[in-house]
Symmetry: C2
Subunit: 238 residues, 2 copies
């Protein structure tokens, strides 16, 4: 069952790949972060007509004969294999539903610095980025984090997790979301966190888990920078 995985993702950013890396690290399984030693390998899958299930974009994971793309889909797969999601259908769907809400906010975070075009530089859409960031920090971020706060609080089996009594992959993703928000929007994140103590406590719990703590201190953890989804531009932290 447990086997060597191959992860394919941009080698110089955390980005969406980081949500997969965190799950692999917490699961304690071996994986090869392929593009960090051979970036070309990634493109062979993206361009290849020979691939039966071609990814639209990284990240993607090779697991034996499977080639799986889309962050939430990879986590659905890993969650079932490595006990990072409940085994029941209801629990599996609920965990995945929360992860897809993470997918949604990540797309919005990306658009705070690229509201007009992914293909053009930030500097070419700076005014629009400012307007979009203002809206994100004022309206969207409180709505998303407030939702996760409510879910944690309503979880009776709880202990501060989002789903059931145990850690799931979506707990790891909320940790990473908070990490990214703190990097990109130090002031905006702090303001919203004040109303989300359960989210902050979950972040802190994940950070202290032995495998995650070891990973964060290793050189496998890439630093945040201005090429990822979460980017720090002082003028956007309104």
């Amino acid at each position: 069952m447990v086997q060597g995985y191959e992860l394919y993702y941009w080698p110089s950013i955390q980005g969406r790949g980081e949500f997969v890396r965190l799950a692999l690290e917490e699961a304690g399984v071996e994986y090869d972060d392929v593009a960090r030693r051979d970036e070309g390998a990634m493109f062979r899958f993206l361009d290849g007509m020979k691939v039966a299930t071609p990814p639209f974009a990284p990240p993607f994971l090779r697991a034996g004969r499977l080639l799986i793309a889309q962050t939430a889909n990879i986590l659905l797969f890993l969650g079932a294999r490595h006990g990072l999601a409940p085994p029941s259908e209801a629990g599996r769907l609920w965990t995945h539903q929360l992860q897809l809400t993470i997918t949604d906010i990540l797309a919005e975070v990306h658009d705070t610095h690229h509201p007009i075009s992914t293909n053009r530089f930030y500097e070419e859409q700076k005014a629009e980025a400012r307007a979009r960031s203002r809206d994100f920090l004022k309206e969207r971020l409180p709505k998303f984090l407030g939702y996760f706060e409510r879910v944690i609080s309503a979880n009776r089996k709880g202990k501060g997790h989002l789903v059931g009594a145990k850690l799931t992959y979506v707990d790891l993703s909320v940790f990473q979301l908070v990490e990214g928000l703190r990097y990109a929007f130090p002031r905006g994140a702090k303001r919203t966190e004040r109303n989300c103590p359960a989210v902050v406590a979950l972040h802190d719990h994940v950070e202290r888990r032995p495998r995650i703590a070891a990973y964060l201190n290793s050189d496998r953890r890439i630093s945040f920078n201005r090429d990822g989804i979460f980017r720090r531009y002082k003028e956007l932290d309104l």
Copy 2:
């Protein structure tokens, strides 16, 4: 197994709910489109602290004791129950991966008319909407539809479907995507479709399926309008 479903979605638009409606219609199962007779019922789930698995947003589906949100997640569930996805793990993940790529393009379509703020009127972000639409039609739409074209063409079991030899829920979603694009961007869609004959053929195939054809001719099918994801503004069809 087959039971009465309750669908909860905005009653006056196709929106994301339409992807679920199409799957329910093709499956030939009974469902109650609840908010079309009682909009308040939807809000009781959204606001309710009493709900164990509260949705972040519509659509959501009630199936017995399950309450499932996120369009792609609902389709994952329905696909497995009603033969609208392959039964194998590999096939199930691949179908879902394609559906999540539909999720991605839908978020981008939404942002063509609301690139700055979901909470403000289109008229307040018209210039930015024009810039974003230009980029969408020139760069993003050809990339997404070209991807689906490649997937259909590379499917050896084929017959023009995206996955394997039979219709899946993602075929229905590509049909709806093409429908929406034609409504919102008649010129832009036509331009891109020229390079995507397999996507167009799949659209036409789905349109002619007896249950889908009957649905499209019924009053259960809401017309496109300027409140949904796909909106027609002449000035954005560049």
